[in-house]
Every structure is written in structure tokens, then in C-alpha cells.
């Protein structure tokens, strides 16, 4: 149905300079002094601009791409994109040879320049990253793609810049799948929706005829698993977002829910509820073999694999209340790891492997927090009336979750929105969606 993955060709224009990075951004602490960066509009020749204007209906695509980059850098919280009105040098000249004094004057420490060309029905974008104080080029890359992919070019540029300056993989060329919500609280209509990480290109994947919940990306491809109440039978489904083909996962005589993929994308792990008891099962997507992982009269749900696939964290009330447990992936060696005051739910293993994010309820407040995989070092990142379901950015630096507001008996005042926050606890942001939204899941990087 939706063709997302058009090839984007990336190649170095010049051999990468092996000089030591002089500018560095430390992302391990809350960054209260974001790096001042100048994102020059990408220059474009008149002929290319005329043709691209016809195709994309944008006045100046070079400037539009630079806005994508600028917005990404700003929302990361690590960079401070400078006001373009203060730029002294013209975009095309800056891209060839920046006058570093001019950029230093407006306190820019890094400069991004670029150039857009349209030829053979392809969009070609070059960009360069400059260290203003050292007066050096740090990186130069070019991409060729179909013109309609222009926003992705902006995201890939941001990923490259982020990676060069922080030493970590970026998370900008990614998408979020979530549940779009409309209507009164008592008869909420829910649809699967997908959008770019920055809130653009929203597409609805279901019509809202049946209740859908908790979509999650396969970390290795464009498959999604989610819960659907199709024909009033709550079951875990598998959806290919490229073809639109969907199927029920397994043949269970009752509700299956809380699905997630294994890190290699080959299994689905989920809960199966029967006779008042929920346990954790896996199904291999290749040979359809179903395995029971837990066998306990308590509720066992919200399973999530460690990135090496060796462990599973999950939510259980076997102690009497909701707590977080870790076990080996075969179900052995179950160990409770949450011991703080309150209830704990929705554990999600970080893609870096070192932390587990969770939702905590304590004294009528909901928190999103993280702890080490042995339960030590609990850190609460944000407190609110209601929020839950964190999902990690692919580099494990940002969490996206949803938050609901209070309402009266008529449902007035109610809203559900997506929010993101850095692992540091700083940079909390509303993630803009067309409708109310919940249950976000972050994809892997689309390009590598």
C-alpha cells in the first residue's frame, strides 16, 4: 500500500576528514547549554527550483529541507539552531567556502550548508558540516532520491550531524506508530496511525470500525503487531504496513494481548488470558510454534525482550500487586526487580540493554522512570496525573509515551497526547499529532 522505503543513495563527496572532532556534544547529562548551530538554507539553482516547484508545490525546497533539519536539532534539546535572519553569508557561497568569521560573529559553533540539484527526475542533495571555531570541514555527504522523499533527506542529514557531533546514532529518520483517538471517552474510536518522528506524513492504517490497541514495530522490518477487537474477539494481529496484509497471530481460545517482537523480529511475545489467568507465550513467525513461557496463577503481562534476546522483563502481580520481573527467555530464573513504593507496569528494555523503562503509580500520581536491569538505580523522569507506556528511541536516548488529562462526568477536559522526554529527565516535549493519541511505538532507523 504505502511505499516508504525508496532507496536513498548515500555517498561521501570527499574522503571523510579524520581530524579529531573539536566540537563535541555530551548527551549523557541534561544539556542546559545546547550547542549553537547555524543551519544555512540549502542553495538551489533556478532551473532545479522551477522543476521541483511543480512536483512538490514548495516555493524553495532547499530552505524547506533546512527547516526539517533545524526543527529536528531543536527538538533534540542538544542544539540551538540560530535565527536565519542573522546569517551574513549567502547559502551558495557558504556551501563552497564559509567565511568562518561571519559565522563566529553570530556565535555559531557548527555550520550546516548544502545544495539541491534536480536532474534525471532525481533529487540530489549535498550537505557539509563545518566546525566554525576550528575553521574546518567535519563532514560532507550527498544523497540521491525521488523528490517526494525530501523530508527524509532532512532527517538523514540530521542523523549524520547528530552522529558526528555526539558520537551516538541518531533517531530522526524514524517513524512512530500509535493509536489515533476520537470521540467520547465512553465510545472512543481508535485507529492505527503512523507518522514521521517529527509528526509529519500521518497515515491511518485502520478505519476505526473496531477497537485497536498497543501497536509495536518489528525492530528489523516494516511489520507491526497490535491488539484488535475485530469481530469482538480481542486477538494479537500482525500487519505488514507496506502491503496492508494482516493476520491473526496464533490460534488461541481466548484473548491474546500485550504483543511485542523479539529483537531479531522472528518471534512475537504476548499474553494469553484464559479462565481469569494471563500468562506469557511466544510464537515463532516462521514455523508457527507456540511456546508457553510463564505458568503462574497471577497476571503475567507486558513482556519485553532484552536486546540480546536472552532475557525477558515483564509485569506480574504474583506478589499481590503489579511489579516488574526479569527472567531468562525460556521462563526460568524469575526474579522480581522493582521494590520501590507503589505499583510498577509496562517494563520496556532499552535498545542499549542497560536500562528498563517503566510506568509507576504511587500516591495517585503516574511516573515514567528507568531502572537498571537488576532493579537498582531507579530514576523517575516525569510525574503527571496519568501517563504510561514508554517506548525507546532506537538509540536509547529518548522515551515517547502518552499522557491523559482529567475529565468530568461528561468527559469534558479529557485529552490523550504523545510526549517525549530525554533519558536525562530534561527536554520534555509534546509530540504533535492530528488527533488525540496514545500507545506510541518508535521504529528503528529506516536507513542505516
Amino acid at each position: 500500500m504505502i511505499k516508504y522505503l525508496r532507496y536513498i543513495l548515500i555517498f561521501f563527496i570527499f574522503a571523510p576528514t579524520s581530524t579529531l572532532a573539536l566540537i563535541e556534544v555530551d548527551i549523557t547529562r541534561g544539556n542546559l547549554n545546547p550547542l549553537p548551530v547555524a543551519v544555512s538554507p540549502l542553495s538551489i539553482d533556478a532551473k532545479s527550483n522551477d522543476e521541483l516547484k511543480k512536483i512538490l508545490k514548495k516555493k524553495d525546497i532547499g530552505s524547506e529541507i533546512s527547516k526539517v533539519v533545524e526543527n529536528n536539532l531543536l527538538t533534540s534539546g542538544l542544539f540551538n539552531p540560530l535565527d536565519k535572519d542573522a546569517f551574513l553569508q549567502k547559502a551558495d557561497i557558504a556551501h563552497l567556502k564559509p567565511r568562518f568569521e561571519d559565522w563566529a560573529l553570530i556565535k555559531a559553533q557548527a555550520l550546516i550548508t548544502g545544495k539541491v540539484i534536480y536532474s534525471d527526475e532525481k533529487l540530489r542533495v549535498e550537505f557539509r558540516l563545518w566546525d566554525v571555531l576550528a575553521g574546518k570541514e567535519m563532514m560532507a555527504l550527498a544523497f540521491t532520491t525521488v523528490p517526494t522523499n525530501w523530508r527524509r533527506v532532512g532527517h538523514i542529514i540530521t542523523d549524520k550531524v547528530y552522529e558526528r557531533l555526539t558520537g551516538e546514532r541518531g533517531y530522526f529518520d524514524t517513524r512512530i506508530i500509535y493509536v489515533a483517538e476520537e470521540g467520547p471517552k465512553t465510545k472512543r474510536i481508535k485507529k492505527l496511525a503512523i507518522m514521521d518522528q517529527d509528526g509529519f506524513n500521518t497515515k491511518y492504517l485502520t478505519l476505526g470500525n473496531e477497537l485497536v490497541l498497543t501497536p509495536r514495530f518489528n525492530p528489523t522490518n516494516q511489520m507491526v503487531t497490535y491488539l484488535s477487537y475485530f469481530r469482538n474477539l480481542p486477538r494479537v494481529y500482525l500487519l505488514d504496513i507496506e502491503t496492508g496484509i494482516q493476520e491473526v497471530v496464533g490460534d488461541f481460545p481466548g484473548m491474546t494481548f500485550a504483543p511485542r517482537f523479539s529483537p531479531d523480529g522472528k518471534k512475537i511475545i504476548m499474553s494469553f488470558a484464559m479462565d481469569g489467568n494471563s500468562d506469557i507465550y511466544t510464537m515463532d513467525l516462521e514455523n508457527r510454534v507456540v511456546e508457553r513461557i510463564t505458568n503462574h496463577p497471577s497476571i503475567d503481562t507486558s513482556p519485553s525482550y532484552s536486546p540480546d534476546g536472552k532475557y525477558i522483563c515483564f509485569n506480574s502481580d504474583r506478589s499481590g500487586y503489579q511489579q516488574i520481573y526479569v527472567m531468562r527467555s525460556d521462563g526460568s530464573k524469575v526474579k522480581r526487580i522493582s521494590f520501590g513504593k507503589g505499583l510498577y507496569g509496562t517494563p520496556v528494555w532499552s535498545p542499549r540493554g542497560d536500562l528498563i523503562a517503566f510506568t509507576k503509580l504511587h500516591k495517585k500520581k503516574f511516573y515514567i522512570g528507568v531502572m537498571r536491569t537488576d532493579g537498582s538505580g531507579e530514576r523517575l523522569l516525569t510525574e503527571n496525573y496519568y501517563q504510561e507506556a514508554p517506548s525507546w528511541s532506537p538509540n536509547g536516548r529518548v522515551l515517547i509515551f502518552y499522557r491523559e488529562t482529567k475529565s468530568d462526568s461528561e468527559g469534558k477536559g479529557f485529552s490523550a497526547k504523545l510526549w517525549s522526554i530525554d533519558l536525562t529527565g530534561y527536554n520534555e516535549r509534546l509530540v504533535d499529532t492530528e488527533t488525540d493519541a496514545s500507545d506510541p511505538s518508535w521504529s528503528s532507523l529506516l536507513s542505516n
Binding site: L213, I299, G345, L361, Y386, A389
Partner: protein, 158 residues
Amino acid sequence: MILTKILKNAFLIMLTSLVLSACATKKVTNQMQGDVYTGKDTVEYLASGVADRVFFATNESVLTTASRETLRKQAAWLRKNSKINIVLEGHADERGTREYNLALGERRANSAKDYLMTYGISGNRISVISYGKERPVDSGSNPLAWSKNRRSVSVKAN
């Protein structure tokens, strides 16, 4: 003189506020016992005198004395109407994580099912579905609304 007037007014205000707060407490105790809903606002009836739903305490799936009485009436009615099958819809309030609440709703509906079965209703006539916190009857964000939403509802399936 002025002083007595002020005192009198103050007394009046105190009195009214006492009356008001008494009303408020009374209202709540009328409709909740502990945090289990005991009111009738949202209750519907399968037949005359046969209420369709039972309510639960926070995070609990244990049936209260009142719930058991309601279910015994449902069982008697189901025995009389042997062609009718039912769906038990289990629900949770909005103060819990979505996935856990799905499991909790399923557990609540099953505790009602088990009770009906002990009163002679065949398990084949009862199916169970959990809506977790997805289908509240009261949209309010307050303890009374939550107590109405923590429920298992018996619905005719045919």
C-alpha cells in the same frame, strides 16, 4: 453589638458548611462501600429485579456479598431461561496501565463466570470478554466514577 453580629454570621456560615459537608459525605456513602460502588445509577436489568452488573474494589476481582446476591439472581434467571446465553464483559477503571487492565477485566469477568457456574449455569452458555479500561460508563476522573467503571456486566448474547 457588632461583635455579636459577626459571631452570629460566623456561626451561620459554620452551620451551613457543616450541613453541606454532611450532605457530601452522605452522598458518597450512599453509593460506595469502601471503594466498591453500591449505587444504581448505571445498572441495567436483565429482567425485573435482575441487575446486569457487579462492581469491584480497586485492583480486586473478589466478589462482594452484594455481587454474589446479584449473581445468584442472574443464575436463577438463566436457569429459567435456558435458551439464553450471556457474555460477561469485564472492565477496569482508568487508573491503571492498559495491558494490566485488560488482564484484570478478564479476571473480573471470570470471577463472575465461576460464581454463575457454581450455581448450575453451564460454562458453555457464558463467554467472557475484557475491555480493560476502554469502555467506561462514567467519564469522570473521580473515585465515584472509577467505582462505577470497575465492573463485570452480563449481556444477553442471543
